[in-house]
Symmetry: D2
Subunit: 360 residues, 4 copies
């Protein structure tokens, strides 16, 4: 990003402040990211790249997004010609591409999992070898509402996974208050969350009229959730006593596949470390998210349809009077707040723009 | 039921062993019950009654079931002309109708909630006034796999709710083993579970591409679940110590609405009272349900599509190695094992037939 | 609309050019219209009115549209306080409300059918008594691409029905060329096309996994289609010879209900009055819709998903080589181009704005 | 099939009359065929074979069918060990397998297209080279209601395609009466009709909330439809005058993909060769299908949900009063009457059983 481009806008939409490349624009998240850049009032879509689909126009693959741009092959040597990059490669394949942009001094949001985990060992246990471990320390975990200031100053933002986004937003106020002793997260996602993957499992006939738990032996989004909840407790100085079980021993996470396209819900059940009242919780959440453009604390349990095609996270918190459990429900659109929308939210901050630009 | 009819069958399908009336056959559960009776090798559909829809043919309302029978108004004075009755009235309205059949000496399966709760006070807190409280003591809770012998000898069986059927089957082995200290049930049901109710909430446009938690302030199926889990612990002599929290303080139950027609899943998360290994759990479940025709303990988490249009309950049990939690997932078809199918299963036993007659 | 408001914009979004009331904003089309006005760069949502739902906030009923406005009761005496009105009342109920706005000198787009048909007799045969027949002559049929100039100068625009919008756009080039001798329109619409109507027919369980023809005895959208096709032939001087069958004798229209929310497709089969080649047809369509912002002539048959949440109409035209039939397929979003989107498109023209304002 | 096996049944279900192999039982149609054989009162599932999935249990792939049988590789040399075969291979691959069974004297129903077309040239134009053209003359087109007697005596039945089954049943009475001069068939099928094919096109996200025409350049089911309609006219002596356009010049067929699993509807629009009244048509259809177990002429346009999981074809016929067109709508389950159900129907006849055995 050259500073000359960050001068105040001279006027109408035709002048952009930054040329952005979206690498991996043929997948679900990448295509939406390209579309959001394309419609963004202050960004220009410099290139949308793809591997197998290079040469195809994006509006052929995703007519609804109406981006009349031909997908090209990524030229890593030309990384420096862009002002910013969004990388939406599969996990594992992203790290090297991200590294090229970082080397070229281009700020990058990585939508993959490659830079989300601070601990390389945990990454490699979960995803396999890491392609650019030297960058792990530089990456900021881009759950914007939690790490806004770090994102602002970062050159490499690791965009959170879809489940972690909803789960952590649902649990953050409890974790910060030191209340999230013991957590069950029962989550559900629409099919686009799995990415543009062929195969029997996501064939219409497999998904239609079905509802299935999966990944119960340990979904790869769990380490992200654990890392961030621990971080919140540490940051707030609310870590339980040293002899308490470590956090990773206290979170159960089970996702389910729902027969719909876009939408993700996390239903969180928390045994708090002390008795809490519904009113206290509601206040806690209202204060924590006061002023947030994309987090709404609502009076009723949210349905995912309410937030479809938006960057919103709607959260409802309640207490199960019988058991004393705190319950927090968070709904997002997995492709927006759970992927491409949050990528733009982060990129806005990195480029010194308004956080909400192009997202309302 | 006259004993003359229970003589051994003389031969083919044309001779039935019992004439059954289905009262309330225009609702989802009642219509399927009528259809199952109609196709049953040893039962005859004596009458299918309805209130608003009397005069309409059942195959007009439910073409797929192909029951070429006109719905009639129920004549309570003629209750005695049938050998058995299935009552599928709404909660509250059922009790009086059930009472008429009981008075006439007709064995009855009540698909409503009216006789499911032993404790009248709990019933009235949950559903309102009870129409025939004098019969509460006579009713058997018809979760067949738990109360088979009682069902066999009963004249009044209260067919369980759909959520309780799946939840209790998922949790029974743990409860009997005294392991179900602390339970979170995150459940999901297709739309037919709500019954044939009009209104915005079940309009196609409200449900499509949506997934929503509901009833979080206390779903009316919770008391059934609590009652049966307590009963299992008492029966097995595995009640926790007297100073432990009562069961009703230890179960959280939250249902969700899924955009599909028939299908129900309960995902149960249990903090066991002592450490358990996955292998121990698998053995526990395999033994508990050994020989059951309609409960299958399976190696993978079940999807509801697998059991659609069947009376099966598929259960998968696992341990979350990180937290030590036991997890049990149970899938049923809410209209079959969760309502009409189980009604037939119970009726078969009450009439001295094979439990599986007409259900395979 | 006061002329003082139509002065050039002084600047940013905060200054609107016109205050618009949406009457009937609790229905599907009205709510989207209110949302489009609310986000429109040059319009202000002056009021959103409803009958049964007055007092409810619009974002309670339709969270996804995020219009934080309370629905109010319509005050007909205050009609004159707005610069423009969109009326989205049910057919029959709209005419009187429209009349009040017209009397008050407020330009109005009527989303109902009340002013679509030139011939009062045809209207009353189709819909019943007309509430303001004296206004029929003043109304312009707002299929924008056909009547752009008339819309621009009109004070009362009758917004077309959803099926007619897609059918007429699909057939217009053929009709204008005098080629549409004999027409079969097999159409399909998502459920939102039926409006926010309760009842068994649009219950999720009735629609899910179903596909049904309906209205085959004569759907009320047929007269609109016939009127416009006749008009096109007359306008182009391509009316068939006087002894030909009248147009209304030559159009068959059958809609089907598809299990989806928003989306409408018309598949049109035309026996042309003379032989035509595919290439000729493609040229005819390309030229006819050249420069249109919202009509795209595409190379493949369009799916409705491609145009969801857009004001686009995608049309594909082909020739069945075996039979010589011309085939034209048009996909729209029934709530956008088929209702609220086109209402804004028309309102933009009536208020002297860019036709695409607030729609891209 | 050895005659010794066709002796009268000695009694209960355990004794089968014929051992049937289903070749290609891992696809949608083959798996249902295996399931129908498995539950059939007079058939035994001798083997269920698959290529890629050999070694997998069928109830792993299709839990809902509950066939606890391991898929095996087909041993062509052992073809003679079965009494009958159902071949559900892909088009092109089936012919050779069918030939092996025919050589071994085993009666076979071929669910593929390989023996449906009398004219080898038309076949090869449509599907490519034919693997066993010498058998084309021996094959009977198994639209049971049209060719019942031929099926009964045949050793090789070509089971019709799903679209042709519904289209021809919808049109047969008109064709036999010489009335089907000019025909438009607008059809729609659920996704299972495409078979168990991976790839973007049938990914849940491609199909969900979509409705798309396809195959408009000439779907491969069209030649079947033409062949049979011509045959009906010839059989009934109602061929139009020699100088009329040949049939293949008079049928337009366009299918659409609907977001559902099982179900197929053909909406047929016929310009009759002379004026017909609705009442005449109703009588014509009622008489033509009088006594048919699987064809129901109904008073309202049928939805596909009504016939799901059944072997029924529901037909509604009407006249468009304005244009004089005859309209016939036929709904089937594409996997049942459109594939595996009709295969059993045919096999029943070939083996001298009741046509409805195992299908009600």
């Amino acid at each position: 990003m050259r500073s000359r481009r960050l001068s105040p806008r001279s006027g109408g939409r035709s002048v952009s402040d930054a040329r952005v490349v979206v690498a991996g624009a043929s997948g679900f998240a990448g295509a939406l990211a390209a579309s959001l850049v394309h419609r963004h009032p202050r960004l220009e879509l410099g290139a949308a790249t793809a591997r197998a689909d290079a040469g195809v126009r994006l509006d052929r693959l995703y007519p609804r997004y109406r981006v009349p741009v031909e997908l090209t092959a990524l030229d890593p040597d030309a990384a420096g010609q862009f002002d910013a990059a969004i990388v939406a490669y599969p996990h594992g394949a992203a790290a090297e591409v991200v590294a090229r942009f970082v080397e070229a001094g281009v700020p990058v949001v990585d939508v993959s999992a490659d830079f989300r985990l601070d601990d390389r060992a945990v990454y490699e246990e979960t995803y396999g070898d890491h392609g650019a471990p030297e960058l792990l320390d530089d990456a900021v975990y881009g759950l914007t509402e939690l790490h806004r200031d770090d994102v602002r100053g970062s050159r490499l933002v690791a965009n959170p996974g879809c489940y972690p986004t909803a789960a952590i937003l649902a649990l953050a106020p409890l974790a910060e208050a030191g209340l999230a002793s013991d957590v069950v997260i029962s989550a559900a996602s629409g099919v686009s969350g799995a990415g543009r993957v062929a195969g029997d499992r996501f064939h219409f006939v497999s998904v239609d009229e079905n509802f299935t738990p999966y990944g119960i032996e340990g979904h790869r989004h769990l380490p992200e959730i654990v890392q961030e909840l621990e971080g919140l407790e540490e940051g707030a100085g609310t870590v339980p006593s040293p002899d308490a079980e470590p956090r990773r021993r206290r979170v159960t996470f089970v996702p389910h596949l729902v027969p719909l396209d876009q939408g993700l819900l996390t239903s969180c059940f928390v045994t708090p470390s002390r008795e809490v009242e519904a009113e206290e919780l509601r206040r806690l959440y209202a204060e924590r998210y006061d002023g947030e453009a994309f987090v709404e604390v609502v009076d009723d349990p949210p349905g995912v349809r309410e937030v479809r095609d938006t960057n919103l996270c709607r959260i409802h918190v309640a207490v199960d009077e019988r058991t004393g459990r705190a319950m927090a429900f968070a709904a997002i659109d997995n492709l927006w707040k759970g992927a491409a929308g949050q990528a733009i939210q982060n990129l806005n901050l990195m480029l010194g723009m308004e956080e909400t630009d192009g997202l309302l």
